[in-house]
């Protein structure tokens, strides 16, 4: 009986292997469907999703996929699907070796595409590779908004992938004169790695008129740049009855994670946190207080 079972398994395995071969072929034929302009966009998008590794198998397939991405006459959603497929394939570094050069060259072309979503994605992919071309374009756009390929907040976000990207002066300019709130926030996030920006972040952390998100960025930046100041100011916030519950919760989370043990001896602070833990704040904020108290001894 065992012998028969083995034979059955073997036959089943053979059928599955045939299906393997069929599946492998279908990746190539999926790519063929995806690059076929006579098919509907929906069919092509679905097909391109099946095709990632097929581009690694022949230069012809790779070029077909890149042509879809480059071709401004193609529907945008199909071009985005081609980009996604290439991006997925790029994770298979060794297999993708033969494709990388053409892929990067195409991304640089698409970085200046008329379609904003394609531009943004291409620039994002390049910026994360610390590509000089992308950085140059993004910086030019910050200096000259007429030449901007993406909004300033996006440019700052992408430039933050490389601390060496020469973006600090542009970020400071935006903090001083922000075109919008998002840009200001991204500029501050970028400046959180600038050692000379600690005084700015001190000021922001203590400013009750600032949004919690900005004050949280400030708290985090201060911890990176001047940790003793974070502890000092977080403490002030917790002792200040007039400050907001959400920033108190942020401060408590910061001190629970990064505070030093001496906080356990700070009776005034512990008392204040204890009051907060049983007060009228949201329950999850009060939980942060209880976590703090649990760490520092009560």
């Amino acid at each position: 009986m065992v012998t028969k079972r083995k034979a059955a398994t073997s036959s089943k395995s053979a059928n599955k292997n045939n299906k393997n071969a069929a599946t492998k072929r279908s990746a190539r034929s999926a790519l063929s469907v995806g690059t076929n302009t006579r098919r509907t966009a929906k069919e092509r998008i679905a097909a391109l999703a099946e095709a990632p590794l097929a581009v690694c198998e022949s230069d012809k397939d790779l070029q077909a996929m890149l042509n879809v991405l480059r071709n401004q006459d193609e529907p945008v959603e199909v071009r985005l699907a081609a980009l996604k497929s290439l991006q997925a394939a790029s994770f298979s570094v060794i297999a993708f070796e033969s494709c990388r050069g053409d892929y990067l060259a195409t991304l640089r072309q698409v970085a200046e595409d008329p379609n904003p979503e394609l531009r943004q994605r291409a620039l994002g992919l390049l910026a994360r590779k610390k590509d000089g071309f992308a950085q140059k374009k993004l910086l030019e756009g910050l200096k000259n908004p007429d030449k901007a390929l993406v909004p300033p907040e996006k440019a700052l976000q992408l430039l933050s992938y490389d601390v060496h990207a020469e973006a600090y002066s542009a970020a400071r300019a935006i903090v001083n004169k922000p075109p919008n709130d998002d840009a200001r926030r991204e500029a501050l996030r970028l400046l959180a790695a600038d050692a000379s920006a600690a005084p700015l972040f001190e000021k922001l952390l203590l400013d009750k008129n600032e949004l919690r998100e900005i004050r949280q960025i400030a708290a985090s930046a201060l911890h990176a740049l001047k940790p003793e100041k974070l502890q000092e100011h977080a403490r002030e916030i917790l002792l200040d009855k007039s400050d907001y519950d959400d920033i108190k919760a942020t401060s408590l989370t910061a001190l629970t994670q990064f505070g030093d043990e001496a906080l356990g001896k700070d009776k005034a602070l512990l008392k204040s946190v204890d009051r907060f833990s049983v007060g009228k704040a949201l329950s999850k904020y009060k939980q942060s207080a209880r976590r703090f108290l649990s760490k520092y001894g009560q």
Binding site: M1, V2, S13, N17, N20, T23, A27, I45, A46, L48, A49, E50, P52, L53, K84, S85, Q87, A88, A89, S90, F91, S92, V93, I94, A95, F96, Q120, R121, G124, L125, R128, K129, E153, K154, Q157, Y161, V163, D182, R185, E186, R189, A192, A193, R212, E213, Q216, I217, A219, S220, H223, A224, T250, L252, T253, Q257, F258, K284, Y285, Q287, R291
Partner: protein
């Protein structure tokens, strides 16, 4: 009388964690007062709190059929007890007529040659039998009072993992008297969307501590996964084993902070709306900046000296990412590893490419903590495929693709960077993180794992190969 129970053969409380795989344990009498015979029968039972984990007691000296001796009428000893427990007859350690009858009946029911002798085929059938697992939620063992240890096994009952540390107790009784107990945890990798708030918060806290705003050990994990290092782990057969080791190393570091934590997975072919919320892995604004709640410790997440996470989903996070292969499709890629590993493209690569932001490229992917949940699902899919096709044995050609032309680090016998500490040449210039983190529970895969070491993660082929993790929906 008192007994000591050691889980994973260790007195260390940090070893009291089990998975679905049998964990070797031992029991010994530490205080024989009140005992009147050289051995006492001790019954070991798992007692769970409501909603907690459940344990079972697989039989056998190894928990698998590999090293069981042949048994016949008149044999005696622990292996006979093991056999009797599996058959559901009285476990007195003596292979008598009743035991033989039970053996014959079992052999007849399984179309095995009926001779009343327990050889490898009978053992295999006994241990593969679902009945053998469910019948062992308690175990009776004769334990000598002289302090000698008696081995046994415990495993989590499939489908009933723990929620909290110690939510299942193993009690030892002599008659009705409790003589020893130990709290354990059935610690299992779960679908992130099923975590309780407590599990979620403990995981986030441990992860944030590991990151420690860029100053924690997480920096090593970030540096293990960059463009420079990527050929060690991508685009060749070692992709799945390398990432399995990578996740395990990270998980063990998390467990050094909080041992109750297991890495959850993001099942990317299903909607996971509560994962992408401020209290969990963050909600992305239109720019792709991830927002966390005021109490979420991930708000201080820092990598490469820069605070924050950039992640822009190209799908509605209340729904499923588009165009990813489903689990069924992924498992259907093929029964050979050479075919299955195409999953590196879709769904793995496609899952990464479902976002803009850090997770979308190799060099920056590890900056986003979601990366580890994504890869945990990739590993789960591999584990499920292994189970489906019985691909745990590296000696079996279809369990891996050892072509003889694989790049370094992608052959079965290759040790894997960075844990092997080898730098220069075809390896990256440095080896961040050092050797694989050790576990108090298991010895595998060792400090410098090879590709081969990462296949038998559950200890199916060799019990000592189990790596101390399992998935909530992958039984073996």
């Amino acid at each position: 009388m008192d007994v000591e129970l050691q889980i994973n053969n260790s007195a260390n409380p940090l070893a009291r964690f089990v998975t679905w795989a049998p964990s070797p344990c031992r029991i010994r009498v530490t205080n024989p007062s009140g005992a009147t015979t050289p051995t006492v029968n001790v019954t070991i039972t798992g007692v769970s709190v409501a909603g907690g984990g459940t344990v079972v007691f697989p039989s056998g000296t190894t928990g698998s059929a590999v090293s069981r001796p042949n048994l016949k009428r008149n044999d005696r000893g622990l292996a006979v007890i093991d056999l009797q427990n599996l058959l559901g007859v009285k476990a007195d350690g003596v292979f008598g007529s009743k035991t033989e009858q039970a053996v014959r009946a079992f052999q007849a029911s399984r179309n095995i040659f009926v001779d009343g002798v327990v050889g490898s085929r009978t053992w295999e059938a006994l241990t593969a039998s679902p009945a053998s697992a469910s019948s062992s939620n308690s175990l009776t063992l004769p334990v000598p009072i002289d302090g000698a240890s008696v081995p046994f096994f415990v495993a989590g009952k499939f489908g009933q993992p723990s929620v909290n540390n110690g939510d299942v107790k193993i009690e030892a009784r002599s008659g009705t008297t409790l003589v020893g107990s130990v709290e354990v945890m059935v610690r299992i990798r779960k679908n992130a969307t099923t975590l309780t708030p407590g599990e979620r918060n403990r995981f986030l806290s441990a992860f944030a501590q590991l990151n420690s705003q860029g100053l924690g050990r997480f920096a090593d994990f970030r540096n293990m996964h960059t463009d420079v290092t990527s050929p060690q782990a991508h685009g060749a057969p070692g992709f799945l084993p390398w990432h399995r080791a990578y996740l395990l190393d990270l998980e063990r570091e998390l467990q050094a902070i909080d041992p109750s934590v297991a890495l959850p997975y993001w099942r990317f072919d299903q909607a996971a709306p509560n994962l992408f919320k401020p209290d969990f892995f963050g909600a992305s604004d239109s720019l792709g900046t991830v927002q966390f709640s005021a109490t979420n410790p991930l708000q201080f997440w820092t990598t490469d000296g820069v605070q924050g996470i950039n992640r822009r989903p190209f799908f509605k996070t209340a729904a499923v990412p588009e165009d990813l292969l489903t689990e069924a499709q992924t498992l259907g890629l093929g029964t050979r590893y050479s075919a299955f590993r195409d999953m590196e493209g879709n769904p793995h690569g496609s899952a990464h490419a479902s976002f803009g932001g850090s997770i979308s490229e190799i060099d920056t992917a590890a900056k986003d903590p979601l990366f580890f949940l994504l890869h945990c699902n990739v590993d789960r899919l591999w584990a499920k495929w292994q189970r489906q096709n019985r691909r745990f044995d590296s000696a079996q050609a279809d369990s891996f693709h050892n072509s003889g032309r694989n790049p370094i680090g992608h052959n079965l016998s290759d040790t894997m960077w960075p844990w092997n500490g080898i730098t220069g040449g075809q390896r990256p210039p440095t080896a961040p993180g050092g050797a694989m983190a050790a576990s108090p529970c298991v010895s595998a895969p060792g400090p410098t794992p090879s590709v081969r070491d990462c296949l038998d993660y559950h200890g199916v082929v060799n019990a000592s190969s189990q790596m101390g993790f399992d998935y909530d929906d992958v039984s073996v």
